[in-house]
Subunit: 191 residues, 2 copies
């Protein structure tokens, strides 16, 4: 199953992303999104607080899935490895609908205010990862380290993947794993 569940919210989000990418975020109204989906604006507001919420509504779902995947990792797996695999799996989710992921990225990249909000949402993911590790018995500071490094590597890998032209040839989980390996090597470097 992809990140974007095939429910009403997912369907509205798909339509919204396409409109944002086509017309621009500021130029698209919630009424237009609802109309394009064949719904009333009132129905739109039953699913989303506002049009900005459309861009970020799936973050708690992603955070929950990261936490589940970390909880499910075998006990002998090192925290940083559990985090790497959980984020790589999230990358696999995104990759199931690459155009959707790229549309969303382009919209956010077009606005400093949206970028700031995305940064805050990524911090939520990092904290969800840390909390899931603490629930596995990891101390808080190394847990925060693993969450912060994993999400920072994702923040490098994801735009790099989005910028690649040939969607089919570019593998997001692999791009992420390579970035993570480079991050770990840079941080581990001996004195």
């Amino acid at each position: 199953m992809g990140r974007w569940a095939p429910d009403s919210r997912g369907r509205l989000a798909r339509i919204a992303f396409a409109l944002f990418a086509e017309k621009g975020f500021d130029e698209t109204t919630s009424a237009e999104i609802a109309e394009a989906a064949g719904l009333t604006e009132r129905t739109f507001f039953r699913h989303f607080a506002d049009k900005r919420d459309v861009l970020f509504y799936a973050v708690p779902l992603a955070a929950g899935r990261l936490a589940e995947r970390i909880a499910e990792a075998p006990a002998e797996v090192a925290p940083i490895e559990a985090v790497t695999e959980a984020i790589a799996a999230m990358c696999g989710d995104f990759q199931e609908e690459p155009e959707l992921a790229r549309q969303r990225h382009r919209v956010i990249a077009s606005s400093p205010a949206l970028q700031e909000r995305e940064l805050a949402k990524h911090e939520e993911l990092a904290r969800a990862i840390a909390a899931a590790l603490v629930a596995r018995g990891v101390d808080p500071t190394p847990a925060r380290a693993c969450g912060a490094v994993g999400i920072a590597a994702f923040r490098v890998a994801f735009p790099a993947w989005c910028a690649q032209r040939r969607v089919k040839g570019a593998d997001l989980p692999e791009t992420f794993r390579q970035t993570m390996a480079a991050f770990r090597a840079a941080v581990a470097e001996a004195r």
Copy 2:
């Protein structure tokens, strides 16, 4: 020299932080800050865009100093070590006026909106660090790794230091170095 230069802006910031901490950020007006400083509100607005700007005006100064310190590190120093020492030196700057640093922290911790802005400012510091490393010939991805890890460790160490009661006994550079060592160990952990 501390982070808070003894100029008009620094003096206004000191007075503002004390008022924010005493009365609350929302309850303090720019007019009150100006009055407490013996200045007109117009003068206040010559130095700051608004009262929120007072909390963050020194971030570009801190970013510039981090970049300078990284540029000055001997060529044989590993990037992650150069970053550790540059941030530890920034911690030393903050520690010169511990009550000021703590007042500012309390104000920001009281407001999710200010926390989000602080997060964005910390991202600016991480990117300034990465840019300074790239200028030393480090590849962009490991440069981003060092910036992200250094600032993430600072974001753990600084609140921990602020929470410590005995100001004189708590050493911020040392707290940061220990956090950084724990971060590096967590990320380096062998497969």
